[in-house]
C-alpha cells in the first residue's frame, strides 16, 4: 500500500495483517506515517496504490462496524455538558444495536462488563469530565470494548496516563484477547505498559523497517525498553 500528501510520499510499500487473538504494536517517530496508516485503515483516507481490507471488506463497504473497536488519541474529554462514564460507554453499543432499539439486557450487561473490565465499575455514574486523564482514557477504552469488537485499534491510548491506569489498561487488553480472541493494533510511544503481552512489533518510518516478535527485535539489538521514538534510528544503525 502507498500513500502521500501533495505528491510527498508518507507511506511506501507498507504491508501488514493483524490476525484474531494477535497483539500488534505499531511504533515509529513523529511523522513516520502511523496516524496516516490508522486513518487509511478506518476509511477516512484512501491509499494511492494497493488496498485495505477490514475482515475481507473494502472500508467503504464494511457495514459491520461493531467488529472494529477504536480508541482515538485524546488526553481529556472536551465535554461542556456532563456525560457519565455509562452514557459514554453506551454509545459503544450504537453500531451493534442500531439507533432506535432500546437497550436490552444483553446491551446493559455488555456495557457494565466493559466498564468493569477497565476498573471503572464504581465510577460508572460519575461525569467523565470530573475524572483524571487516565480514568477518562479508560472510559474511552470501555466504549470500544462495549461493542465486543473482533479488532481493536488504539491510537496512543496511554500517552500521559498514570502508572496505575497503564497497568489496568494492559490487563483489560489481555482480557479482550484471551476471552474474545480479538486482534489488537496499538499505536503507542509507551510500549513498556504492554511489553509483556505484545506478540508482534512493527517499526514504521514511511515503510516497514521491522515486523516481528519482540524477541526477534531483541536479536537485532533493540529492546522494547528503548524509547520507541529512537527505534528506527537503532534499526537503521544496525542494518
Amino acid at each position: 500500500m502507498r500513500f502521500g500528501y501533495d505528491g510527498q510520499p508518507v507511506l511506501d510499500d507498507v504491508s501488514l495483517r493483524v490476525a484474531g487473538g494477535e497483539f500488534v504494536a505499531l511504533v515509529g517517530p513523529n511523522g513516520s506515517g502511523k496516524s496516516t496508516l490508522l486513518r487509511i485503515l478506518l476509511g477516512s483516507l484512501k491509499p494511492e496504490a494497493g488496498s485495505i481490507r477490514i475482515f475481507g471488506n473494502d472500508p467503504d463497504a464494511f457495514d459491520q462496524r461493531w467488529r472494529l473497536g477504536y480508541v482515538p488519541q485524546r488526553p481529556t474529554l472536551a465535554s461542556e455538558v456532563p456525560a457519565t462514564v455509562e452514557e459514554i460507554v453506551i454509545s459503544g453499543r450504537l453500531s451493534r444495536r442500531g439507533w432506535w432499539r432500546p437497550l436490552a439486557s444483553d446491551d446493559r450487561a455488555a456495557v457494565m462488563h466493559a466498564i468493569e473490565s477497565v476498573g471503572l465499575g464504581e465510577l460508572a455514574k460519575r461525569p467523565v469530565n470530573t475524572l483524571s486523564g487516565g480514568q477518562q482514557q479508560r472510559a474511552f477504552i470501555a466504549r470500544a470494548f462495549a461493542s465486543e469488537p473482533e479488532l481493536l485499534v488504539l491510537d496512543e491510548p496511554v500517552a500521559g496516563v498514570d502508572a496505575g491506569s497503564q497497568h489496568r489498561f494492559s490487563d483489560a487488553l489481555s482480557h479482550l484477547i484471551r476471552e474474545h480472541h480479538a486482534g489488537v493494533l496499538l499505536v503507542s510511544h509507551e510500549l513498556s505498559a504492554v511489553a509483556g503481552i505484545v506478540d508482534r512489533v512493527i517499526v514504521l518510518k514511511g515503510r516497514v523497517l521491522f515486523d516481528g516478535t519482540p524477541s526477534a527485535l531483541m536479536h537485532e539489538g533493540v529492546s522494547l525498553g528503548i524509547h520507541p521514538e529512537d527505534l528506527p534510528l537503532w534499526l537503521e544503525g544496525l542494518r
Partner: protein, 280 residues
C-alpha cells in the same frame, strides 16, 4: 381552560402566549444542549441574523415572513456548516460571514419593503402577547418536528457531538448528522422568533442548558433540567411582564439568565458553607 389556569393566565391572549412560549421553552434547549456540547452556542444567534434577511424578503414580497425566514435560515445554517466542516475558513469566521451578511441583507430588504415598522420589530424582539392561533399552530408543528427528530436521533447525535473522530470510525454519518443539527437549529430559530425575537432566540437555546449543566451530573439529567428551566422561564417571564408591564420576550430571557445567576451563586456558596460547617 381558563378555569384551570391561575392568574395571570386566565386571559385568552396570555393563554396563547403561554402555550406558544412553553413550546419554545421546551424545544429550544433540546437543540441547545447539542450546540453547547459542540461549542457552537452562538450559531443560533448567527442563524437568527440570516433569518432576519428572510423576514425582510417576506415583507418585500408580501409572503408570510415565517416561510421566507425558514428558507433563508435553513440555507444559511447549511452554508455555515458546509464552510465549518470543510475547514475552508475558521468556524467563528464562517459564523461572522453569515451573521453580518444576513443582517445587512435584512436591513436592505426591510428598507425596500417600506422601512422599520411594528411588524419588523415584532420579529426582531418577539411579542408573545399578540401571537395568533395560526402562528401557534406553526410553532407547535415546527416544535413537534424538532422534538420528535431529536428524540429519535438522541443516541447517534450524542455520540457525534461528544466525539466525532470515534463516531466516524463507528460508521455514523457524522457530516449528515451535523447538517441535520444545523437545519433543526434554523427551524428552532424561526419557530421561536415570534415569541422571543430573532435577537434573543439563541438565549433560550443556551441559557437553560448553561444553568442545567451546573446542576446535573449526566447528559440525560442536564437535558431534563434544561427543559424545566426553559419552560419555567417562560412562566416566570410572562407573569413578570403582566405584573410589571415589561416586554415579555425580554422578561422571559431575563428569567432564564436569572436562573443561571442564582444557580452559579448557590454553587459557589455551597462548598464554602460546607467548609465553614466542617471547621465550625
Amino acid at each position: 381552560m381558563s378555569a384551570t389556569l391561575s392568574f395571570p393566565f386566565q386571559v385568552d391572549f396570555m393563554q396563547r402566549a403561554l402555550v406558544a412560549g412553553l413550546a419554545v421553552g421546551i424545544f429550544a434547549p433540546l437543540i441547545g444542549i447539542f450546540l453547547v456540547q459542540k461549542r457552537l452556542s452562538l450559531i443560533g444567534d448567527g442563524i437568527g441574523h440570516v433569518a432576519f434577511a428572510g423576514v425582510g424578503a417576506g415583507l418585500l414580497l408580501n409572503v408570510w415572513p415565517v416561510w421566507t425566514a425558514l428558507g433563508f435560515a435553513v440555507v444559511g445554517a447549511l452554508g455555515v456548516d458546509w464552510l465549518r466542516a470543510r475547514g475552508r475558513i475558521a468556524g467563528d469566521v464562517a459564523l461572522a460571514l453569515f451573521f453580518y451578511s444576513g443582517i445587512a441583507l435584512g436591513v436592505v430588504l426591510v428598507s425596500l419593503g417600506g422601512g422599520l415598522n411594528a411588524n419588523v420589530i415584532t420579529y426582531l424582539f418577539g411579542q408573545p402577547l399578540t401571537v395568533k392561533p395560526s402562528e401557534i399552530l406553526v410553532i407547535l408543528t415546527l416544535g413537534g418536528v424538532i422534538t420528535v427528530t431529536m428524540w429519535l436521533l438522541r443516541r447517534p447525535m450524542f455520540a457525534v457531538v461528544t466525539d466525532d473522530d470515534w463516531s466516524r470510525a463507528a460508521g455514523l454519518p457524522v457530516d449528515g448528522l451535523n447538517s441535520l443539527l444545523a437545519v433543526l437549529t434554523a427551524v428552532a430559530v424561526v419557530a421561536a422568533m415570534r415569541i422571543v425575537g430573532i435577537l434573543l432566540v439563541a438565549a433560550m437555546m443556551v441559557l437553560p442548558v448553561a444553568s442545567a449543566q451546573l446542576l446535573a451530573r449526566s447528559f440525560r439529567g442536564t437535558l431534563a433540567i434544561a427543559v424545566c428551566v426553559g419552560a419555567g422561564s417562560v412562566v416566570v417571564g410572562l407573569s413578570a411582564a403582566w405584573f410589571w408591564d415589561l416586554a415579555p420576550s425580554g422578561a422571559i430571557v431575563l428569567a432564564a439568565a436569572g436562573v443561571f445567576a442564582v444557580v452559579s451563586l448557590v454553587k459557589r456558596a455551597a462548598p464554602r458553607a460546607l467548609r465553614q460547617e466542617e471547621h465550625g
